[in-house]
């Protein structure tokens, strides 16, 4: 009798795969394998790729975008998208640089920059959650607005920052540049939040089925708003770090950064329709992207071809991720 009881449940579900198989077809595993292949291919190309400090130094160029991509991953898992953080980086960097150039002491200027980033996140949150407008179009609008305001503020000139403020990427902690340390720490922190807390589980539920999540008592508006605010804040941190790395600020810093951020999230296996993805994936994908980009530079690939590769990679990544998810579920 007991067998008849369990039979229907078993007939419904497909045979259970062995654990190694489910692990193997996770998108993160794919990213990891690509990363290994990338390092191997790169080291054939140039011995520099076996030099960890060279890779770390290359990573600092992308670390600002990678830091924002970590938070963006959570936004995408929650079923929304934010295309504005790159423009946010530019505007908050411009506001910071403009404030300190007009005599505000640097610490206060940093606070102003961070607050402006937070305000930009709040604007997105208000439009997307408060007014319930689709985040796709809203963030295209705020992307244009932020970048445009940065242009109004800075014009075509570049604003210099003081000598002592330059070089956040030259500060080393245990031989690792500070931006990379920040990226790793943030990845661990957000990974714990997303994977190990109720808040994190709620994000997945909102992304899987927002109506159901709300009926289950999850405050989706509050959680999504906090994610948009966090993206805004982290983007301004990234913007100010970029200012320190470059030594001057122009309105077009991080131009086209939205593509690279979305690319990092997609390469790491974040599902574009929400509900799936991990911080680990984005973490690995950021390294993969750095290896690919650096590899192209070392191999003397034209910048134009790099544009084609990045665009193509985005489309391939999202097709592959969708395929993997449709195989493993439904």
């Amino acid at each position: 009798m007991s067998t008849t009881k369990t039979a229907p449940a078993q007939a419904d579900s497909s045979p259970v795969r062995p654990r190694w198989q489910t692990l193997l077809i996770r998108p993160e595993t794919m990213t990891f394998m690509l990363l290994v292949v990338g390092v191997f291919g790169g080291s054939v190309l140039s011995p520099f790729f076996l030099d960890l400090s060279y890779i770390l130094r290359s990573f600092t160029l992308y670390s600002e975008l990678a830091i924002v991509a970590l938070v963006l991953t959570m936004v995408i898992i929650a079923g929304e998208i934010d295309l504005s953080p790159a423009a946010n980086m530019a505007l908050s960097a411009c506001i910071f640089a403009w404030a300190q150039a007009s005599g505000v002491p640097i610490p206060l200027a940093i606070v102003i920059g961070l607050l402006s980033g937070l305000a930009m996140g709040a604007l997105n949150a208000f439009l997307v959650i408060g007014l319930q407008l689709p985040s796709i179009i809203v963030t295209i609008g705020t992307l244009t607005l932020f970048r445009g305001l940065a242009q109004v503020l800075a014009g075509d000139k570049s604003i210099r920052v003081p000598e002592w403020f330059i070089g956040v990427d030259k500060i080393m902690l245990a031989g690792i540049p500070l931006p990379v340390v920040l990226f790793i720490v943030l990845a661990i922190g957000l990974g714990i939040v997303l994977g190990g807390t109720i808040f994190g589980r709620n994000i997945y539920q909102i992304g899987t089925n927002e109506v159901a999540a709300r009926h289950a008592g999850i405050r989706s508006a509050r959680i999504k708003s906090s994610l948009f605010l966090l993206v805004g804040l982290v983007a301004s941190v990234a913007g100010i770090m970029t200012a320190s790395r470059l030594g001057s600020v122009r309105y077009d810093i991080a131009a086209g950064g939205e593509l690279q951020m979305v690319l990092m999230a997609m390469l790491g296996g974040t599902y574009i329709f929400g509900g799936r993805g991990t911080i680990l994936g984005t973490f690995l994908a950021a390294w993969l992207l750095v290896i690919v980009s650096t590899g192209m530079i070392v191999a003397n690939v034209l910048p134009a071809v790099q544009l084609v590769v990045l665009g193509g990679l985005l489309i391939v990544a999202i097709i592959a991720t969708n395929l993997i998810y449709s195989r493993t579920q439904r």
Partner: protein, 333 residues
């Protein structure tokens, strides 16, 4: 309800009133804004955006968005520019000056079809696909041109003439072409079966296939049209400005066009959008762009204005929708 009242309640009336008020306000400060000469300047600012906006409107009506139009504009202008530069021959005869027009349209249509295929075959969201092709097509522009600009001397003077000479009343050809495209779009969207299917698809993507609409074909067509019109805008860019630059040509075009389309009343929730509204939206943006230098506002503020316009239009769109829902409820009660 009288006919007059119906006209005033339409969305387009609101935009028209905004245009008039804006022009009067600027004219009050700078009287030279209200001259015929200025009208010509405004009209000359609009044709490219208007042509792009017609394609983007159809895309938005179908509940998608196309971010790659600026890059498609760049590639198709560059292909034609390269053909002019290297004196391509057609079946043994030199390429005529108008040869770039069909070529650009076909190139644009193919690129748009590429977008559409990725979106329909793999069921991907248009925003990510076109974000990718925005970069990919821009890279193509550099590759085919070897990162070199097509200079003035290579563009046939007859082609450049389209932006200067006029068949009637001093209005250049490209303005007629733009309004011709708008008329054709009107006919296509309102009076053909496929055109109406785009609206049906956008208003309810789930119900559309149940009513026998071939969703994939319609989506492909919409993106191909968007590409083809970007291609036309590309060759007219060469005509209007007399050069094609791999990095500048068409960059940022998508934001102007999206701003014009959403201010023109196309709903981002799909299914709603009119040609007249889009034309008025383009004209409103044209007025704003023309007024900036007169008012002494630096040109660098243009992008910020486009961004603000998009957001304001979205908020207006939402309040209009809210009102519609409220009036439906009242009618039912």
């Amino acid at each position: 309800m009288t006919t007059l009242r119906k006209i005033f309640l339409r969305r387009e009336a609101g935009i028209a009133v905004m245009i008039v008020l804006f022009c009067l306000a600027v004219g009050a400060v700078k009287p030279q804004f209200l001259t015929l000469d200025q009208l010509r300047i405004i009209l000359l600012l609009t044709p490219l955006v208007m042509i792009g906006a017609m394609g983007q409107m159809l895309v938005i009506v179908a509940r998608h968005v196309d971010l790659s139009i600026g890059s498609m504009l760049g590639v198709s202008a560059m292909v034609s520019g390269m053909l002019y530069r290297y004196d391509a021959t057609w079946f043994g005869v030199d390429m005529p000056w108008w040869g770039g027009i069909p070529i650009s349209i076909v190139v644009g249509a193919l690129l748009g079809l590429g977008n559409g295929l990725l979106i329909t075959l793999f069921r991907l969201p248009a925003i990510i696909v076109t974000l990718g092709t925005l970069s990919l097509y821009r890279g193509l522009t550099f590759i085919i041109s070897n990162a070199k600009q097509i200079d003035r001397q290579w563009i046939p003077s007859e082609l450049k003439g389209l932006a200067q000479t006029s068949p009637i009343m001093g209005i250049p050809w490209i303005i007629f072409i733009a309004f011709g495209v708008a008329l054709a779009t009107y006919f296509f969207a309102m009076h053909t079966r496929v055109g109406r299917q785009i609206f049906a698809l956008g208003s309810n993507p789930v119900a559309a296939p149940l009513r026998g609409i071939k969703v994939n074909q319609v989506t492909l067509l919409v993106f191909a049209i968007s590409g083809a019109l970007s291609g036309l805008a590309g060759i007219l860019y060469a005509s209007r400005w007399g050069f094609v630059n791999p990095s500048n040509t068409g960059s940022g075009f998508e934001f102007q066009v999206i701003a014009a389309v959403v201010i023109g009343g196309a709903s981002i929730n799909g299914g709603v959008g009119t040609v007249l509204g889009t034309v008025l939206g383009v004209l409103l943006l044209g007025c704003v762009s023309a007024a900036l230098p007169l008012l002494g506002i630096p040109g660098t503020s243009q992008a910020a204005i486009y961004g603000a316009v998009i957001l304001i239009a979205l908020v207006i769109d939402r309040s209009v929708r809210q009102q519609g829902i409220a009036s439906l409820k009242r009618a039912r009660a």
